[in-house]
Structures are given as structure tokens and as C-alpha cells.
């Protein structure tokens, strides 16, 4: 139990430190190791869904390239957190300004969520990549490679990351559970995999949350997943379906302000909520909602305002609720 003092987030604790520890994405890992052997590293683009190991592989690559004190040689940026390309440029410039003494003649710049940059910002990024090539290499990380402009794609070695296989996720979860002295039910680990859909980070987070309550059982897994979702999401959906748009809008505001959720987070959580088995909705209604939720998510990605877009969604949901109750009365 002495480990309790060092109790930390498992997602970080069990992140593979070197490429040898990465069990998935075998081809990618192989190619990367070759780069290190040859000492010839191109600019790279890591693309794939969340939790498939993009950041992990980037960090492990840096570790294997520079050794244990690799942090000194890398700059980690997250495009969705930096305020615009100018801020990124300033930080990159500052970082790449100094040459390094050592066996590797360049530094590494890891730019996460690069697909969040606008097309203009990506053009600026492309020029930056050319400008700093003598001293630095870029690893761009993106969920949607199609949102990275052509000129950048053509200047990078592109690596595709695929969702993790079930047996790999489960064996990792078992390893962690064993190491942490956590009792678990096999079925619970399968439930975790189902919920996380191949997203390793999410899977580990669910395991850690469930383990905080003792033994990891199927019920416990669903319980913590329920707890992690603000209950306001479901309340908001229900209020709208019952025709109370104004109260639903109040819930939305609470979610955005108290939980700091973005519009995208809210619409994604709505999507996962409606497909839960205890959600009292017809199959047809679920599909209709998913369709319009997808439309709203697209509008948000196009640059729509969080509250306006979600209000439009809630107004639509209110209307759907009304139509459904009329239908129900007619059939009765």
C-alpha cells in the first residue's frame, strides 16, 4: 500500500516509454526505428483516431532518438491550445534558434491536433517547416488527415494509426490491473473495451475510475462511466424531448460553464447518451437524433458558435419530442 503516496494517473504511468514497449502499430514502429538507425529523420504526420498512440509513439520516438533526457530536445505544442499561428511561430522560432551539441543534429517539434489549424495557418506552418529544416524536424499529429493541406501532406512521411485490437487493449488492462493489485472480472474488461472503442487512453481511464471503487465488475464499469458523464446531458435531452426548451437551454449553459465543456464535447456526449440501453427512445428516433447531431457537429467544426449551434440542436430535439408524442397518441 505504500504506492498510494505515488498514486498518479495511470494513463501517464503506463504510457510506453520507448518504441520497444509499444505493442501496437507494428509497421509504424518498425519504420521509425529504421529512421533512428539511419539517423535520417523526415518531417512526419501521425494521423488516426484518439487514443491510438500517436502522442505516445512521438514521445517514445524522441526518447529512443535522444535518450532519457529527451525532454530538452523537444518542443510540445497543442494547436488547439495555442492562440493562433503567430504564437506557435514565436515559440518554434525561440526553440529552434539554438543549435544543439550531440549526436543528433536537430531538435524535434511535436505539434498535436494540427488539424485544428485553419488552412491559412497551415500554409504558415508549411513555410515554417521549410525554414527550420536545418535545425528541426516536425511531427504533426492529427485526428483527421484530410484536414491537413496537401502541401504539408506531401512534405511529410505519413503514418496512419488504427484503433487498437481488442486483445491488445485487454491484455494491457490486465497488466495494469495486476501491477496495481486490482481485482477484476474478465467481463468488466470487455465492457471497458466496448465503451472505449479502441481508445486506449479512455480504456485506462475507465479502469482507473472503476478500480477506485474496489473490485472492477461490469456494474462498477457502467457506474463510473455514468458518473463521469455529467448527468446534465441526459437531463438536457429529456427536457428538450418533453417540450421544455428553455429549461434544456439552462442545462446546456450549466454544462458549458460549470464543466467547461465545449460545444463539440456536448454534442459527442449527447450522441453516446442516446444510444445507451436505458434511454427510452425508439430505434428510429435514435437514428434521427444521431443524424442531426452529426450535422451540428459538422457545423461546429466549420466554425459555428457553441451555444447557437447547440441551441439549434435543442430546438430541433424539442420539435422531435412534440412529433413523437403526437404519433404516440395517434397509435394509442
Amino acid at each position: 500500500m505504500s504506492t498510494e503516496l505515488e498514486y498518479v494517473l495511470w494513463a501517464e504511468k503506463y504510457r510506453p516509454k520507448s518504441l520497444d514497449e509499444v505493442v501496437n502499430q507494428a509497421e509504424t514502429v518498425q519504420r521509425l526505428k529504421k529512421f533512428i538507425q539511419d539517423g535520417n529523420v523526415p518531417h512526419m504526420l501521425f494521423a488516426g483516431p484518439p487514443g491510438t498512440g500517436k502522442t505516445t509513439v512521438a514521445l517514445a520516438f524522441a526518447h529512443d532518438l535522444y535518450g532519457p533526457d529527451y525532454q530538452r530536445y523537444i518542443l510540445e505544442l497543442n494547436a488547439s491550445d495555442e492562440r493562433g499561428i503567430d504564437v506557435i511561430r514565436t515559440k518554434v522560432k525561440e526553440f529552434a534558434r539554438t543549435m544543439i551539441v550531440g549526436k543528433v543534429p536537430f531538435k524535434l517539434i511535436i505539434l498535436d491536433e494540427a488539424d485544428n489549424l485553419t488552412a491559412d495557418a497551415q500554409q504558415a506552418l508549411r513555410r515554417m517547416m521549410e525554414l527550420f529544416t536545418p535545425t528541426s524536424r516536425f511531427i504533426l499529429i492529427a485526428n483527421y488527415p484530410s484536414k491537413i493541406i496537401e502541401p504539408i501532406q506531401s512534405r511529410t512521411a505519413v503514418f496512419r494509426f488504427t484503433p487498437l485490437k481488442k486483445e491488445d487493449v485487454i491484455s494491457r488492462l490486465k497488466y495494469i490491473a495486476k501491477n496495481e493489485g486490482v481485482e477484476y472480472d474478465e467481463k468488466a474488461l470487455e465492457a471497458i473495451f466496448d465503451i472505449s472503442e479502441g481508445d486506449m487512453r479512455k480504456a485506462i481511464n475507465i479502469l482507473q475510475a472503476a478500480a477506485a471503487g474496489g473490485e472492477v465488475t461490469v456494474e462498477q464499469v457502467y457506474k463510473v462511466v455514468g458518473l463521469a458523464h455529467p448527468r446534465e446531458i441526459r437531463e438536457m435531452i429529456k427536457l428538450a424531448l418533453n417540450g421544455d426548451f428553455l429549461k434544456a437551454r439552462d442545462k446546456l449553459r450549466k454544462l458549458m460553464i460549470d464543466y467547461g465543456l465545449s460545444g463539440l464535447d456536448v454534442i459527442k456526449q449527447v450522441h453516446s447518451e442516446i444510444f445507451k440501453s436505458d434511454m427510452d427512445l425508439s430505434e428510429e428516433a435514435k437514428v434521427l437524433i444521431a443524424d442531426y447531431a452529426g450535422e451540428i457537429q459538422f457545423r461546429l467544426v466549420e466554425g459555428g458558435d457553441d451555444e447557437i449551434q447547440l441551441n439549434a440542436f435543442l430546438a430541433w430535439l424539442t420539435l422531435l419530442g412534440k412529433k413523437m408524442s403526437i404519433q404516440a397518441q395517434a397509435t394509442r
Binding site: 494517473l9 477506485a212 451555444e307
Partner: protein
């Protein structure tokens, strides 16, 4: 005959009882000034009076000064472009008291007249003055929600007071009072028409009354209808919305947006706020939002691509699109509300900032974006806290989360004490460990390889101190 003083100055209220209506504002302001008079500096150092033109913002500041016999130092915000003037006001404001020991009222008129870009320095100068003042500051603005006022509006030292549009009753009372004092005949219907033409703008009403009364010695409906021009001015937010929702033809809705005080962004927020208040049918609410949502997407594309010629499409949808839907309903006359999100964001700034700073720490630690930290890791810690508070506390400690941040992460006040307790326990433990390490060092050195032994022996000692 004495030199004619314009009625607008001649009949300015000398004290609060002569000032009609706005009872809430009056009550707040006199309590606030009394606080200053007691000799302290209240935590709220400045007031931002806002409301439509001619509603009596400046007059209220002057009536307040008259009521308490205070000197007033007035400056129009457009003067904030001149450095020497800024310095003068800043100096007066920061000086403690005048000779009589009373504070002075510093009046900054029309602060929304500063333009965001050219007068950036002006906004900063005002912020500085507010921070350093030892005297009450009153600012006035037509539109407190103008973009350039965002920083001033959200300062902790600033209180927003809205002056409501004057009712016909109040306007007529003032006009009648003036007619009596000037001994001229005033037809009630004429006064009502003056009020209608000026939409609650008392200043224009008095000017109109004077322009007819002085020349003709009487004010009749006949004269008013013949002589009074319609004033062409910008529409305030309420008028803008009314014109959009009540438009008979789509061009009226479009023109309302064009002549509005609100910029496009803020107009979207106002429409967003008021659609479900003005409309009642779910079908219509949805359709209006759909139009607004599409307008908003156009706006997003404009920002991303820089193609400003898309703006006209966005405009069409948000005005004409919404008004077409509104035509399907019999509309009620309602009081429109300020966009709640703007207010809520301002009010919850402090706790949201803590949440963000916590997210920032987590993001750096686990190599994700702040958004992911907010959406995935903060809920995780919250769940762990509910199941095992100690574990959550250790995680937060490992992430360098402060006790204040722990409160916003967990949503529980007790999280603060818990984390504080853990932190002090750990500090004590670390000290103890250092001691035991020192004493245990010599004995372990003999038979174990140096590097490992220290680690394992310290682990043992840790266990001993724990149990």
C-alpha cells in the same frame, strides 16, 4: 431678458428627488456614495450606467453629485485619446480627498465611444484609472455590451447598472412640469406624440418641446405634427430585435440589422437569446434557430477563410430568415433580454479560470490538449474523488493542483481542506524520511549496492511511518 438657457440644462434635476423613475439605480447609487463618504474605498470603485440615449445617465450622475454636494470631474471618453487629459483625470482620481474631506465624482461619459482598435490605449487608461482611484467613478454608455468594453465590464471593481427605457408616464410628468414652469399651454396629446417620436429619449423630448414652445408659446398636437421631424438614429438592441421579429417585409429586418448599434457577432447573440422568448411554437423556434445556425456557420467560414463577401449571406439568414419564421406567429410584445451567456461568462470568470488552469496542468502532465483535459481527465478525477477521496487527493497532488483548483475540479468545498491536509502530511513525511534516510544510511551502505539500497530502504522507512 436674461440669456436663454437651454431647457435641457435649466431643468436638469438638482438632486435625486427631482430625478424621475429608476428607483433601483437611485437606491444603489446613494448607498454606494454613502460608503465613500464614510471615508473608505469600497470594493466596487466604479459604476457603469448603461441604457438608451436620453434616458438620463449623465443627469443621474449630476443629480447624485447635487444630492450629496459633491464636486464632479467630467471627461468625455473621446478625450482619452489625448495623453495630457488622461493624466489629468488619473491624477484627480488617485488623489485621496479634496479640502473638505469629501470625494469627487469622476464622470467618464460615453465610454462606448472609444473604438476598440484605435483607442486601445484609451481602454487601458480607463482600467488604470479604475484600479488606482480613491474617488467614485461613474461611466456612462449606450451599449455596455460593446466589444471594446469587455475588459472594463468584467472587472471586479465595476458594477453595471442598467437604466430602463423611460415610460410614457415619466416622460409626460417631466414635460408637464416644464410647461408649468415656463407658463406655456401644452396639449396632452401633443406631449404624447413628442414622446412617441422620441421613443423614451427624454433629452430629445425636452429639446422638441423647447423648439416649439419657445417660438409659439404653446404646444399643440397640430404644431407637433407639422414641425417635428423624425430623428434618424441607430437602433438600440431592443429596437433592433423588435424590428427583426416584427418586420412585415424582409427588407425591414435586414435594414434593422444595418442600422443597429450591435455588431454582427453581438446581434447573433441577442437573437440567440430571444428566439425562444419571442416565439412559442416548437416548429417556429426550431426554424428560427436553424436560420440562425446557418448564419453562424457562414460567419465561421468568414473567419476561417477571410472571405468577407460571405457576410451578406450570414446577414440575410440571421435577419430575414428569422423574421420570415416570426411572421407565422401572432407575436406578443415582450421585454427582450440581454444575452445570458455573456453575463454568465463574466460572472463565473474566476472559477472558470481556475478550472482552466487546472486543465492546463493536467494537459502538460499527460500530453493532451486543455480541451481533452477538461472533457476526459477532470471528470475522471471527479469520479475517483467520489469513490476514494484519498486517491483523488494524491492524484491532484501529483499534478500540482492547488487546493482552490481542487474545489472546482471536484465541485466540493471539502476538497480544499483534504488536499491541504494531504499536502502538509506529505511535507511532514518527506522531512521524516530525510531524517530516517540519514540515520539508516550507514548500516545499509555496507552490504548493498549503493544506488539501489537507498531506494529500497527509503521505501521501507516510508512504510514504517505510514502504519
Amino acid at each position: 431678458m436674461s440669456i436663454a438657457v437651454p431647457w435641457i440644462i435649466k431643468y436638469r434635476p438638482k438632486n435625486l428627488s427631482q430625478y424621475v423613475n429608476q428607483e433601483e439605480a437611485k437606491a444603489f447609487l446613494s448607498a454606494w456614495i454613502k460608503e465613500w463618504l464614510r471615508g473608505g474605498t469600497p470594493s466596487k470603485k466604479a459604476v457603469l450606467l448603461h441604457g438608451p440615449p436620453g434616458v438620463g445617465k449623465t443627469a443621474l450622475a449630476e443629480a447624485l453629485a447635487g444630492e450629496f454636494g459633491l464636486q464632479i470631474v467630467e471627461m468625455n471618453a473621446s478625450d482619452f485619446r489625448r495623453k495630457s487629459d488622461i493624466e489629468k483625470v488619473a491624477m484627480i482620481a488617485s488623489k485621496a480627498r479634496s479640502f473638505d474631506g469629501k470625494p469627487k465624482i469622476v464622470l467618464l461619459d460615453e465610454v462606448d465611444g472609444l473604438s476598440g482598435k484605435e483607442d486601445l490605449g484609451g481602454v487601458e487608461a480607463i482600467i488604470d484609472v479604475i484600479k488606482n482611484t480613491k474617488n467614485p467613478i461613474i461611466m456612462t454608455a449606450n451599449n455596455a455590451y460593446a466589444n471594446q468594453l469587455r475588459t472594463i465590464r468584467t472587472m471586479n471593481e465595476v458594477v453595471l447598472i442598467e437604466l430602463k427605457e423611460l415610460h410614457q408616464k415619466d416622460v409626460l410628468e417631466v414635460l408637464r412640469r416644464i410647461c408649468e414652469a415656463e407658463k406655456i399651454f401644452c396639449d396632452d396629446k401633443a406631449l404624447k406624440t413628442i414622446h412617441e417620436r422620441n421613443k423614451g429619449d427624454l433629452r430629445s423630448c425636452i429639446n422638441d418641446l423647447e423648439s416649439i414652445g419657445r417660438t409659439y408659446g404653446k404646444v399643440t398636437l397640430d404644431l407637433v405634427e407639422k414641425l417635428l421631424p423624425y430623428r434618424d438614429r441607430e437602433l438600440d438592441p431592443f429596437e433592433t430585435l423588435r424590428s427583426i421579429f416584427f418586420a412585415k417585409y424582409t427588407w425591414q429586418a435586414k435594414s434593422a440589422a444595418m442600422h443597429s448599434q450591435l455588431d454582427f457577432d453581438t446581434l447573433l447573440q441577442w437573437i440567440n437569446e430571444n428566439i425562444p422568448v419571442q416565439l412559442t411554437e416548437p416548429e417556429n423556434i426550431y426554424q428560427a434557430y436553424e436560420a440562425l445556425s446557418r448564419a453562424d456557420v457562414h460567419k465561421g467560414r468568414i473567419i476561417k477563410s477571410g472571405s468577407w463577401d460571405l457576410l451578406s449571406y450570414a446577414n440575410d439568414l440571421s435577419t430575414a430568415g428569422v423574421s420570415l419564421v416570426a411572421k407565422k406567429e401572432k407575436l406578443k410584445w415582450i421585454k427582450y433580454s440581454f444575452p445570458a451567456m455573456i453575463k454568465m461568462l463574466a460572472e463565473t470568470k474566476a472559477s472558470r479560470e481556475k478550472l482552466l488552469s487546472a486543465a492546463e496542468k493536467i494537459a502538460r502532465n499527460v500530453h493532451v490538449s486543455r480541451r481533452t483535459a477538461l472533457a476526459e481527465f477532470i471528470p475522471l478525477i471527479r469520479v475517483i474523488y467520489r469513490l476514494d477521496r484519498n486517491k483523488a487527493a494524491y492524484i491532484m497532488k501529483s499534478l500540482n493542483i492547488s487546493p482552490d483548483e481542487a474545489v472546482v475540479i471536484t465541485g466540493e468545498q471539502e476538497a480544499r481542506e483534504l488536499l491541504e491536509k494531504k499536502l502538509s502530511e506529505l511535507a511532514a513525511l518527506a522531512k521524516k524520511r530525510e531524517k530516517t534516510e540519514k540515520t539508516s544510511k550507514p548500516e545499509s551502505k555496507g552490504y548493498k549496492p549503493a544506488g539501489q539500497s537507498r531506494e529500497s530502504s527509503s521505501k521501507h522507512s516510508r512504510q514504517r511511518t505510514l502504519f
